[in-house]
Symmetry: C3
Subunit: 316 residues, 3 copies
Amino acid sequence: MHNFLDISDCPDPQAWVAEAIALKRSPHRYSTLGENLALGLFFMNPSLRTRLSTQRAAHFLGMQTIDMDMVSGWPLEFLDGTIMDQHKSEHIREAAAVVSRYCDIIGIRCFPGLEDRDLDYSEPFLTAFRKYSSSPVINLESATRHPLQAFADIMTIEEYKRTVKPRIVLTWAPHPKSLPQSVPNSFISWAAQMNYDLVVTHPEGYELDPKITGSISIEYDQNTAMKDADFVYAKNWSSYMEYGKILKKDSDWMITGQKMKITDNAKFMHCLPVRRNVVVADEVLDSPDSVVLTQSENRIYTAQVVLIHIIDSIRE
Amino acid sequence: MHNFLDISDCPDPQAWVAEAIALKRSPHRYSTLGENLALGLFFMNPSLRTRLSTQRAAHFLGMQTIDMDMVSGWPLEFLDGTIMDQHKSEHIREAAAVVSRYCDIIGIRCFPGLEDRDLDYSEPFLTAFRKYSSSPVINLESATRHPLQAFADIMTIEEYKRTVKPRIVLTWAPHPKSLPQSVPNSFISWAAQMNYDLVVTHPEGYELDPKITGSISIEYDQNTAMKDADFVYAKNWSSYMEYGKILKKDSDWMITGQKMKITDNAKFMHCLPVRRNVVVADEVLDSPDSVVLTQSENRIYTAQVVLIHIIDSIRE
Amino acid sequence: MHNFLDISDCPDPQAWVAEAIALKRSPHRYSTLGENLALGLFFMNPSLRTRLSTQRAAHFLGMQTIDMDMVSGWPLEFLDGTIMDQHKSEHIREAAAVVSRYCDIIGIRCFPGLEDRDLDYSEPFLTAFRKYSSSPVINLESATRHPLQAFADIMTIEEYKRTVKPRIVLTWAPHPKSLPQSVPNSFISWAAQMNYDLVVTHPEGYELDPKITGSISIEYDQNTAMKDADFVYAKNWSSYMEYGKILKKDSDWMITGQKMKITDNAKFMHCLPVRRNVVVADEVLDSPDSVVLTQSENRIYTAQVVLIHIIDSIRE
């Protein structure tokens, strides 16, 4: 049985990307593969793209989907041994076990609290859910990872790249709210497994978890980083060092048409939703070089590939 | 590609009504027409009848449906060029474009604010959504139009009419809350295209948009209007002239058994939900001449006809 | 046409349990039985197990399901003759009638207020809904009954029993909140129709409706009741006599490993969600004798049997 919690659950990232590109040409090819199987989607936080793309992917495979909106509350107890006489009405042990009796595959979304770094990076919800679930679990964006997004991002690069080893710039960009690090974390992890010239650029203080960035090149000057770039992926994240904090709000790191001129006619990427004229200027987002809608659309085919591999592991 | 935003999007209203009546006899006739297609339903406001009937219609055509409840908030930016550093997290440009990458047909509901008439009648949400969507859009009740309801209403009249040119009375009725004008607007627009003797009756001050009523007969005396009526369609709306205001609350415009006696054994119509003994007396709603449940049921077959025509335009 | 509001709607409880056990071995056996039929699920209160298991059951039968979350409000008027000028926007007469034009089978959940016993035990919502619905109605847990849970509970006993006439103990257990009596009511009603040595044990003041317990043995000493038990079903309920009240909160009625030793290696049962170390100690719930997950899983097959019988009655 396979889970898909992080890209480490993908045995061959390059092969999966190739499968997704092939599937895009004929998404109905496996229209009965998932027959009689149910995919349960549990959202502890709001979702538009993930909700739509994953349901669509499951439908293309003939699966039933059950969309459970838990945003208004699913007060689960995580501690073992607790006397549950307060506000938590169910323990994660029963919750995950029961749900996996009803659903053959389970997708869960649970964002971080962004207050306690060790807690968030221990992935308490995802880890406990997988532990007590008897069905495979898919990460629909957890506290610190968003592997389905990363998969679609890399697929998009593979579709648009013009050189064998493209230069990819992941750049921090401003945002008024404190956002998780899950998208950059997963993007870096997957991109590191591809044949890319990858550089991460951000203001000082926005260094990501060194266990994730590893030996990836870090550049504090955005203009220097963007030189000769084939792809510019803009994304905000809150500080990992001063955990969850916003250290900088001014607009000098926003991606503008002027900055894109430094690149080698780079494609512009963002995972959406995006704040116009904060993260990126209209002129860039509305230009033919923006591939953000393709990134979103590719969420369907990449989710399909993940489901196909999990279904294969169930059927074995 | 066809949209269905208003009845002007229907090239032949009489033919569509005939198709809906035929489909009612065998609703499963086209059970594979929509195979592999997904209908996304986006509700910015609550829905019971529209939600159920449209999902049922899609299912009869073999389509997948994805029901998105956005009532608790989907804070979209509509203005171009804005610096999005406040509460709106996504621009309608991306929202509509992304959603249409996932859904082959999109239904949207968005009620009016009833404060700014020019704004509401410009249909900002519907217009922007259609502009940026690459998939056909269906109006599930917008600020000033409800064409799916009008279609089902006209179908009901065609099923029950006993004369070639029936007399149809659309009458204003009291209601404690300020309601949109979308139902009367769309009903009048569609009825005007049929062979009806149509009269609209309401208290002074409740005149609808003159661009919609056009040359339709207006009668300020309800009793005079109801004389010889074959169908009495009761519906409240707030004032168009003093926009969104309630000018009158007393019960003298309520439809009673006494008033129905003025008619030629008329059928009673309402789009539901209806407030009993405010809009209409129990004795009328519970009489065999009430066709309100048929109006509701016909929402299925009329939605099917709309979907069939849109699917045909996609497959072309 | 069959409804399934209470176990009195099941003509042969023993036969239905046997059907559910057989179906568990091949749940896809009737995968086209429900083709073209829609099951509407209306939840006035939250649901996890019922929502998932009933949708899964319907899917195994090839039905469409429409999940309607009405928790945030569906303000229905129940009184006849009311002038509806206040907060209720629709009468149950229209609501139930309309919904049954869209859905071939309707499931509804509506919990009790636990303030007015006569009102709750008159089952106002369920009764009115059935009265005005033209489609069969399934009780997804009403004010005082939960027959789908009871069905799954009895099926579980039949799977695990080691003797012809097992000893079943239904024991009250503590809980911090005031809970309905629907689960014990329906369990007792169904168990009374089986070949069981059934005893109900609870503190004084927690006597259930005598019309339901009838001649069932009541034992006020939990230890005495549990002697030689084959199955111990723990469940909290609020007082029927002092209606809706919590009379006792201390932990001496909690099911512990020590108490389970009094039994004849009994299986432990609970309908979930369960509060650990309040209702039951971890050591019992985590032991191999706990069958709570099987009870939950069996909700699928028992719901399928109910749907199959209702579909048969529709097709006749």
